[in-house]
């Protein structure tokens, strides 16, 4: 067996993989380096400076967009996790299991179709577009990930532990809060992180369902890119990359065995 792996993976494969990873990371690295450039015309390296970060922190518009993104992301996490948990617990009833595929729908349809159909629903019932409609849309996206993850984890739980708790006289509610939730906490944290980042990074639903009043960070970057290249976006992108890296580190260290796919 070693022969096969060796013969295939001695030279060409590692070189190929390294090239591909370089391809994945070169644009990001260039972006980060030039966020520290000291001139506004951003294509030639002049000298190191923090000025674009300072500009970023002084921009009220960015803080406002950041605040909106945070509100939407936290509410979507809260809503989709609580709805998902309730569903999963009470989905221990056999008949409810059959409802789980209901939630795969939002993963199978392009996001733009979801966004457009939500938009037409909101406009038809003249619901004002804003943060609330965004939260609705993002919670929907979140449920598509939370419910499969949580119900998978729930069905993997050792039933004997749960039944021991019940046999020893704990009520069902005590068992839920003292046994099941702690056992599921890595999956809960992982799916919260996932929903947070999905909402925080979402562009399509935000673009259609935010209306004119609610600017999120993604929409802000979009508007900036349309006007052209500027080192402040480089600085902002660098910070967002940093945030994502922290999230990925936490996610990978959770040892939940959850794969997104």
């Amino acid at each position: 067996m070693n022969n096969l792996y060796e013969s295939l993976s001695t030279y060409y494969l590692p070189i190929f993989v390294a090239t591909c990873y370089l391809f994945l990371y070169i644009p990001i690295i260039v972006l980060v380096i030039f966020s520290f450039n000291s001139v506004a015309f951003p294509y030639h390296w002049v000298s190191f400076s923090w000025q674009w970060y300072q500009e970023l922190f002084h921009s009220l518009e960015i803080w406002h967009a950041f605040k909106n993104s945070l509100i939407v992301a936290f509410s979507s996490v809260f809503l989709s996790i609580s709805l998902g948990l309730l569903f999963t617990f009470y989905g221990a009833q056999q008949k409810l299991r059959r409802l789980t595929p209901l939630f795969y729908g939002s993963l199978l349809i392009p996001e733009i179709v979801i966004a457009v159909s939500l938009l037409s629903l909101f406009t038809f019932f003249s619901i004002p577009l804003g943060l609330i409609t965004l939260i609705v849309g993002h919670t929907l996206l979140g449920l598509g990930y939370v419910i499969p993850i949580l119900s998978a984890r729930f069905s993997e739980l050792d039933v004997s532990v749960i039944e021991a708790s019940l046999d020893l006289g704990a009520t069902l509610h005590q068992t839920f809060f003292r046994i099941i939730i702690p056992l599921m906490s890595p999956a809960l944290i992982a799916s919260s992180l996932l929903v947070f980042i999905i909402s925080f990074d979402d562009f399509l639903i935000s673009f259609f369902c935010a209306g004119t009043s609610a600017q999120t960070l993604s929409l802000y970057i979009f508007a900036m890119i349309r006007t052209g290249v500027s080192p402040t976006i480089n600085a902002l992108s660098t910070l967002l990359l940093l945030l994502s890296s922290v999230f990925v580190l936490v996610f990978c260290s959770l040892k939940t065995k959850i794969r997104i796919f």
């Binding site: 030639h44 392009p110 179709v113 457009v116 629903l121 849309g137 349309r226 990925v248």
Partner: protein, 288 residues
């Protein structure tokens, strides 16, 4: 005394109501809006007061321009998925055979783009490919080109960046399939005299078809409706399904044709997804 199991107690003591919020949310904000736009697509507004239940909007879709746009999107999605498949498979193969700790490092570097704002990536490429940008400067410096290339606002840029953004979606499901392959099968194949090449094409590749299938769909579906990348990097030269849908809903507000187009293109998407599913199923069953 009969022992009461956990499931029986849940069924007996927990009201069904508590599972309802999630189901309701999904129905209210996913299935109803979908049905709603399907209904809208059959309503043709004549003027402010009158509207009729017709197939008029769909009849308008029969104009060749719409088929061009749909075909263009299908071709784009197909190109991107095949590119991801061809490039992604060796990478997934390499990662899938790594030891656990190394595998996790490789995987986290792959997940990172998935967890980062798509717009950051689009912007990064925008920055690199600009006429005076990094890529052109390097090529000029190396003397490969004499004058800067304008790569932005072309089909090449769109395909390149879509490939870049969707590659992880192909690799991740492939890795999780490849790492599950029973190594004894590979050993058996080699022991029984198959060459490495035969073992790869007759054993490993067929076993990874389910992963290829998942990966293909995970790339194809979003690539078909992609909106941001053609809009920001493709210039205004080409319309794709995603850009046309947004045009109808945000610019012209022509909802009847817009919804009809959305429904029509989603239908085409479902068909193409189904065809790929069938092809892969055939491939899988042929091997058995």
């Amino acid at each position: 005394m009969n022992k009461v199991t956990f499931k029986q107690r849940v069924t007996a003591e927990i009201p069904f109501l508590l599972a309802v919020p999630a189901v309701l949310w999904q129905i209210l904000f996913f299935y109803i809006p979908l049905l709603f736009i399907i209904a809208l697509s059959f309503i043709y507004i004549i003027d402010c007061q009158k509207f009729a239940l017709t197939l008029q909007a769909y009849r308008e879709l029969l104009q060749p321009i719409y088929s061009y746009i749909i075909i263009r999107s299908v071709l784009l999605a197909l190109t991107v998925s095949l590119l991801c498949l061809v490039i992604g498979f060796p990478i997934a193969y390499y990662i899938g055979l790594k030891k656990r700790s190394l595998k996790n490092i490789f995987l986290s570097f792959l997940i990172l783009p998935f967890w980062t704002n798509l717009l950051v990536h689009v912007y990064a490429w925008f920055f690199v490919l600009e006429k005076n940008g990094f890529f052109n400067n390097i090529l000029l410096y190396l003397g490969i080109i004499k004058s800067p290339l304008s790569i932005l606002n072309s089909l090449t840029a769109v395909i390149l960046v879509m490939f870049y953004c969707y590659l992880p979606f192909m690799i991740l499901p492939l890795v999780s399939i490849l790492e599950k392959i029973d190594t004894r099968l590979v050993e058996a194949s080699l022991d029984l005299g198959a060459t490495h090449r035969q073992t790869f094409f007759k054993v490993i590749l067929p076993l990874s078809f389910p992963g290829l299938q998942t990966g293909f769909l995970l790339v194809f579906v979003p690539a078909f409706g992609e909106f941001v990348i053609p809009l920001l990097l493709g210039g205004d030269k080409y319309m794709y399904v995603g850009t046309l849908i947004s045009h109808y809903f945000l610019v012209t507000q022509n909802t009847s044709v817009g919804t009809a187009f959305t429904i029509g293109s989603s239908f085409i998407l479902l068909c193409s997804a189904f065809i790929t599913y069938i092809i892969f199923k055939k491939l899988i069953s042929l091997q058995r």
